[in-house]
């Protein structure tokens, strides 16, 4: 049994250790070389919603409640949803209103892709993060995981709901076209290109107009870096972007927990098997001690009994002997007495 348990443990350990890629959080992933992205410049955006309109058109999404030239929509805060893959929001600032477009940021190491347990999300070498609805189970862990709260869900679909998010227009990119929003932007607030180039462009803009921009290229490092990059004239929190996300990518955040899996699978059976062996051994020793004690007790008792018996016997012997002696004496006496009597009689008769 012990040998078999050990072999079992060995097997478990090997399986645990051989699951590939389970703890492969890269130390410093800089994204696929030559991958693309989009630079958004909040100082150039005028909130015209042309990008929203283009996105709706190229992605064949249902028509919105209000037309895209109705800018009153901007007065309420909106987020991306199943019918709207990108939204522009208006923020109040000292200098006047500011606008910021939001959509999937296409992380270099996407939280959604790392969280998805069917690999429905994939980061393409060109930079886009795409979703495969043919395997999606609809658990919505991607939505929990996304630090930017971007993926949305078709809650009204009873049986075939999809997770909906910007694809960076991956199908259009494949045809050599620009993403819909970039193409339609009248103010060049959006620039599509190689991410490394975009970083250079952005740095250049900040350098040339230090008064116009805050010295921070959002998305360069946030959550391990994103393919979408943002420039702003005010701190990013003022245009609704969180600056407390840190620079760790999603896989880094979960690497520790994942790395402990093979350790638990390898160590636990050994530890538990050991504890079992000890408790079993303890039981065995206890049982043996009990057996010994009982044997001892029995031995002692029988010794005692024997002793008592032999004493009793010897006592009985003595008593017996004495009795025999007495009996013999008696018999002898008895035997002698009649003779004496007889002899007495005889002598009496003789006399």
């Amino acid at each position: 049994m012990l040998r078999r348990t050990f072999l079992g443990m060995l097997g478990t350990t090997c399986v645990g250790a051989s699951i590939p890629g389970i703890a492969s959080a890269s130390k410093d992933f800089k994204g696929h070389p030559g991958s693309n992205g989009v630079l958004f410049d909040a100082t150039r955006c005028i909130g015209c919603r042309k990008c929203e309109e283009a996105c709706n058109k190229v992605n064949d999404l249902p028509a919105p409640d209000k037309k895209y030239d109705d800018l009153s929509v901007l007065d309420t805060k909106r987020r991306t949803d199943a019918k709207t893959l990108t939204v522009v929001n208006k923020y109040k600032a000292d200098k006047g209103p500011l606008f910021r477009k939001s959509q999937c940021n296409h992380c270099l190491e996407p939280a959604c892709a790392s969280a998805c347990f069917v690999k429905a999300f994939k980061k393409l070498p060109n930079g886009a993060v795409v979703y495969d609805e043919t395997v999606c189970v609809g658990c919505r862990y991607c939505m929990v995981a996304c630090p930017f709260s971007i993926p949305a869900y078709e809650y009204d679909e009873p049986l075939t709901p999809r997770v909906m998010k910007c694809t960076m227009c991956a199908p259009r990119l494949a045809e050599g076209k620009l993403p819909g929003c970039v193409e339609s932007c009248p103010k060049e607030a959006l620039v599509y290109g190689e991410r490394d180039e975009l970083i250079k462009i952005a740095r250049n803009r900040i350098e040339r107009n230090p008064d116009r921009y805050v010295d921070h290229l959002y998305g360069e490092k946030e959550m391990g870096g994103t393919s979408w990059l943002y420039l702003s004239g005010v701190p990013f929190t003022e245009i609704g972007m969180r600056e407390d996300l840190g620079t760790k990518s999603a896989p880094e955040l979960t690497a520790g927990a994942l790395a402990s899996v093979p350790m638990v699978a390898g160590l636990w059976p050994v530890l538990l098997g050991g504890i079992y062996a000890i408790s079993k051994r303890k039981d065995k020793v206890a049982a043996e001690e009990k057996k010994d004690a009982v044997a001892n007790a029995i031995a002692k008792a029988s010794e005692q009994a024997e002793k008592t018996l032999s004493e009793a016997l010897s006592k009985a012997d003595v008593a017996n002997k004495r009795q025999i002696e007495v009996e013999v004496k008696k018999a002898v006496e008895e035997a002698l007495t009649p003779k004496e009597e007889e002899s007495d009689e005889n002598s009496e008769g003789e006399s």
Partner: protein
């Protein structure tokens, strides 16, 4: 009811049956709504709050409260505490039903429930902690089922196959503890991917450890709590062996629970110190955090200790109830209360009556099946053919 141990099966129209029946009918109605109108029609879930009560209660609490299975069988078979043997079968059954219902309840929450086997059989997302949860829960459900089968085989009189399964006990127990360690902890680890969404008082890189350790306390307390309930309602099904050991189990588990809660309190404080989050204690969330830590960890830890020292079973049972509530509170805090804390209250989630209805429906199903099985199979008593064989 066929069992001779059941005194006088009267009319089926007992209060329990009527209420349970009504709840089940309600559950079926909501089920139809869910699968014809979609999640949006029955839940308050939205794009900011993708996980609601069905994950927070049915999954997270369900799995934690089913931890009695691995804790009890480990205590009995691995640590060799044979005096807890009478508690093993009820605990295994509770755990098996618990997990089965977790998987059942998950069907409501998943967008395309029939694809649940996909992550294991179609495309494996091994970088996902949810993959680990899914794989472990599937394997553990299988292990629990096998661990449960001897009771069923005894009921059915299948002696040969029963003895084969009984020989596997130790291997199954060890496998069960490994799987439980992994998925109990990875339920906590699910949230480590979202530090920006979970309040710092609850977010910690130690979340997996917190979930695992608290699951032990939950398991021990559930065995006491559920044993007490069964004692009241199913007393006639219990044999002398079970009843003789019952108090010993309560005392032993109470002692263990007290120690585990003490350790849990300590590591939570270490987590707080490691994250240097002390200053949050002075906020509203801090107050709530202290309610959880003092009222539902420190208090039951203390009550357990006093109860064990004074051999006060009533006190231990109260401590068990507080601990069970505390686990539910903790899982709610992580998944619902402290989650999305940064959002304005208008964008926060609160469950609909129909979501609550499904959760009540699932719990009711569990109780009904538990009663069905325990009034028929040798759970609280030894089967006459196999007395003293364990």
């Amino acid at each position: 009811m066929s069992n001779p141990g059941n005194p006088g099966s009267k009319s089926n129209l007992t209060a329990f049956n009527v209420i349970a029946g009504a709840i089940i009918v309600m559950g079926l109605v909501i089920t139809v709504l869910r699968f014809t109108k979609g999640l949006g029609a029955v839940t308050n879930l939205d794009d900011n709050n993708p996980w609601g009560l069905w994950i927070g209660f049915d999954l997270l609490c369900g799995v934690a409260l089913a931890a009695g299975g691995y804790t009890t069988s480990a205590a009995c078979y691995i640590f060799g505490l044979k005096r807890f043997h009478s508690a093993v079968r009820p605990a295994i059954l509770t755990a098996f039903l618990g997990y089965a219902l977790v998987v059942f309840a998950l069907q409501y929450d998943l967008g395309r429930p029939w694809r649940l086997p996909y992550p294991i059989f179609v495309q494996q997302g091994t970088t996902s902690l949810l993959f680990e949860v899914g794989l472990c829960v599937m394997l553990y459900l299988t292990v629990l089922f096998i661990e449960f089968t001897p009771a069923m085989f005894e009921w059915l009189g299948m002696k040969k196959i029963r003895s084969v399964v009984v020989k596997l006990t130790l291997a199954l127990t060890i496998f069960g503890v490994v799987l439980s360690t992994l998925h109990q902890s990875s339920l906590g680890a699910l949230y480590t991917i979202a530090p920006s969404k979970l309040h710092p008082l609850w977010y910690s890189t130690y979340l997996p450890v917190f979930f695992f350790v608290s699951s032990i306390a939950a398991g021990l307390s559930m065995v006491i709590f559920e044993g007490t309930l069964s004692h009241k309602k199913l007393h006639h099904m219990m044999d002398e062996e079970y009843l003789k050991h019952h108090d010993g189990v309560v005392l032993g588990f109470g002692k263990a629970a007290s120690l585990v809660l003490f350790g849990y309190f300590a590591i939570k404080m270490i987590g707080l110190a490691y994250g240097n989050n002390w200053h949050y204690l002075a906020s509203g969330y801090g107050l709530w955090f202290m309610v959880e830590m003092l009222g539902f960890v420190a208090l039951p830890c203390f009550l357990y200790a006093v109860g064990v020292r004074e051999k006060n079973l009533g006190l231990i049972k109260k401590a068990a109830i507080i601990t069970v509530l505390g686990i539910v509170l903790n899982r709610f805090n992580v998944s619902l209360v402290a989650f999305n804390y940064h959002l304005p209250s208008s964008e926060r989630y609160f469950p609909t009556m129909m979501e609550i209805g499904i959760s009540v429906f699932v719990v009711t199903l569990g109780v009904v099946i538990f009663r069905f099985i325990t009034t028929r199979m040798p759970i609280f008593h030894e089967h006459p053919d196999y007395k003293g064989e364990h």
